[in-house]
């Protein structure tokens, strides 16, 4: 009896997750995989083959875009880490108990506004007739309007801005679990500031760092809105290629193949990152 109730409650709790993962993740991906593996030979006539994938490798513009997306995502991840670590350290270790909640909330508040609205906010600030350009002109620093949008720096800035929170949260939770005495012991045994940071704080925070990096990298490489709105036609983000194939060219076969290429690529990068830092998914994402 007791056992049956336990089983039932487990099934009830597990059901939403199972439904979500099969209906929204596994089934669509199987469908996509199927679509990506068929070649159109005549209207409404398809053959099984790897033509769509070959197409990707034969056309430099495609894999160049992917490499560009990948390297820029890595840069965004690195910047988010460099900017996010001191913030997380301050929240977890330096700020007082009460300030901590307020600071955390301040990090969260931007998330209450949709991605789209925030991107338009950046546009208002940075376009040729926007706030920054006008202010600089008024102050006499420049004498003609400058377009700050539609370049890589703006795209990277926008992406760091949207993803940094996902770096801060896991970092705060790992650093929070670190006993202050450990840092003091690091100094007490003769370490100076940089040594303590390099030999004690960063190794301790490694699970948080890796898990934050994975999330930020995934979000960045798969993001669509920010690169398109802030980067315009020049952004050449890989998700834009996928969108093009599906919507503009109505070439679902190629689009599906690109989707899988992106998935494989990001998975490969993350696997490499985990190998490099000696962490596993178990010790990082699962922990924080």
């Amino acid at each position: 009896m007791q056992k049956d109730i336990k089983r039932l409650s487990f099934l009830l709790l597990f059901a939403p997750f199972a439904l979500w993962i099969t209906l929204l993740i596994i089934l669509p991906h199987l469908g996509m995989l199927h679509i990506s593996l068929r070649e159109k030979v005549a209207p409404r006539v398809y053959e099984f083959g790897f033509g769509n994938y070959l197409n990707f490798f034969n056309e430099p513009i495609y894999w160049n875009t992917l490499l560009r997306t990948g390297s820029m995502s890595l840069l965004v991840t690195l910047l988010a880490l460099i900017l996010g670590f001191p913030i997380a350290y301050y929240i977890a270790k330096i700020a007082g108990r009460r300030a901590r909640g307020a600071l955390f909330l301040m990090c969260l508040i931007p998330l209450w506004v949709s991605d789209l609205i925030r991107a338009f906010g950046w546009i208002l600030l940075m376009r040729e007739t926007g706030v920054i350009s006008n202010t600089l002109q008024w102050a006499g620093v420049i004498n003609a309007p400058i377009e700050f949008l539609y370049n890589d720096a703006t795209v990277i800035m926008g992406l760091v801005y949207t993803t940094i929170l996902f770096m801060i949260v896991p970092l705060v939770s790992t650093l929070d679990g670190m006993d202050d005495a450990m840092i003091e012991a690091g100094y007490n045994l003769g370490g100076n500031g940089p040594t303590v940071l390099r030999r004690i704080i960063i190794p301790y925070a490694m699970p948080g760092i890796v898990s934050g990096c994975i999330v930020v990298f995934m979000l960045t490489a798969g993001s669509y809105l920010t690169p398109i709105l802030l980067g315009g036609k020049n952004s050449s983000w890989f998700t834009e290629q996928i969108y093009d194939q599906f919507i503009t060219r109505y070439n679902w076969e190629a689009g599906a193949a690109f989707g899988f290429v992106l998935l494989a690529f990001t998975s490969l990068v993350i696997w490499g990152g985990l190998k490099l830092t000696g962490q596993t998914l178990n010790t990082t994402v699962a922990r924080s």
Partner: protein, 370 residues
């Protein structure tokens, strides 16, 4: 100016204020080379703040701290040759035992060969030669303890600070570690400063103990002095078990007082402490249980012996604890008095409800005017 070489650590009128709170208030002491010094006090007495100032994590509001004769007030914590064993040890979990011990040597820029030799040497000395490659999580509580000490001792500190490091261990292990710490201190021949609220730790291990209360040092002395010749009521009450009577002085006579207690007893005791009481003053009289003998009254009336206090009572309960057994005796005023007894397990042993006479020497009745 002291002659510098003989003291490893000197604190000179050290104070620390947090706002209006005086956490450490004008504390001065010197610790001779190679001794085991304990600072004993209740929680919140300022002992941890004092130790953090010696280690350099807090800056004193005033006063001077000298290590081997040199002031370290302006030396940052990583440049002081004072190492610390933290309350929860603070071993680095991401490093194995070897790396934990090697960390400090690496910071000082020692070569690889020197590091290897020193780490293995110190592991030999704490008799854990085979754990170098273990992870911290694979060690037992006692082993962690020893690694934490080894991690400090490998750096040859002038002073080793220990912040209640036995607190997290279970009772059996704590007893064993007490002896072991004392042996380690002898072996390394380094000055240990041990912070604790556990008096048995302080008494068993230390050469000298400072009793701290409310940010001040109440008394510094050997464990025997503190136990048998407490200089203040706080020390008498805090160190060891004791019976306490509050009362009013009815007669004063060459170092002896007669006290009429609140419960209606009349006790004679000797005067201790800095203030000599006058007739009518309120005093506290302390008597340790081991000086009180409990005998069955067996009909005959107690005769007043010149050097003895005697009172009658009835055994309330027996607190059996092997060789440290006690009886709780209730006197006519309803006060409970603890006395040590020897329980042999035969018919002669005291039992609850037995009528007894308690007696103890006047010289062991220590009276303090607060």
């Amino acid at each position: 100016m002291h002659s510098t070489a003989e003291y490893d650590l000197e604190c000179d009128q050290v104070s620390k204020h947090f706002g209006s709170v005086r956490a450490v208030d004008d504390v001065s002491f010197v610790i001779p080379k190679g001794s085991f010094f304990s600072i004993l006090g209740p929680s919140g007495c300022g002992k941890t703040t004092l130790m953090r100032m010696i280690a350099g994590f807090e800056q004193p509001s005033s006063g001077d701290i000298r290590i081997k004769g040199r002031s370290v007030i302006s030396t940052p914590p990583n440049r002081r040759n004072v190492k610390m064993v933290f309350q929860h040890l603070a071993l680095f979990p991401m490093m194995n035992v070897y790396e934990n011990i090697a960390y400090g040597l690496r910071c000082s820029g020692a070569s690889k060969d020197v590091i290897r030799a020193k780490v293995h040497d110190v592991l030999e000395r704490i008799s854990l030669p085979d754990v170098a490659n273990r992870e911290i999580t694979q060690l037992s509580g006692g082993q962690k303890q020893r690694i934490a000490i080894a991690r400090c001792m490998v750096l040859d500190p002038d002073v080793l600070l220990l912040d209640e490091p036995l607190g997290a261990l279970d009772l059996k292990l704590r007893e064993a570690m007490k002896i072991e710490l004392k042996l380690l201190q002898h072996q390394f021949d380094t000055t240990f400063v041990y912070i604790t609220h556990d008096q048995s730790e302080a008494l068993v291990m230390s050469d000298h103990v400072a009793i701290m209360n409310g940010g001040k040092f109440v008394q510094i002395g050997t464990p025997q002095e503190l136990y048998h010749k407490p200089a203040a009521a706080f020390v008498a009450g805090f160190v060891g078990h004791t019976n306490r009577w509050a009362g009013r002085v009815s007669r004063v006579e060459s170092g002896e007082v007669e006290v009429a207690t609140d419960g209606g007893l009349s006790l004679r005791g000797i005067v201790r402490g800095t203030v000599s009481p006058q007739v009518g003053d309120i005093v506290n009289a302390y008597v340790r249980p081991e000086f009180i003998t409990a005998q069955r009254s067996a009909g005959h009336n107690p005769q007043a012996d010149a050097g003895q206090n005697t009172i009658e009572g009835r055994v309330d309960s027996i607190l059996f604890n092997g060789a440290n057994s006690r009886v709780l005796v209730k006197n006519r005023a309803g006060e409970l008095i603890e006395a040590d007894v020897v329980l042999t397990g035969d018919e002669q042993d005291l039992k609850p409800k037995d009528e007894v006479i308690l007696s103890w020497p006047v010289a062991q009745t220590l009276s303090f005017k607060d």
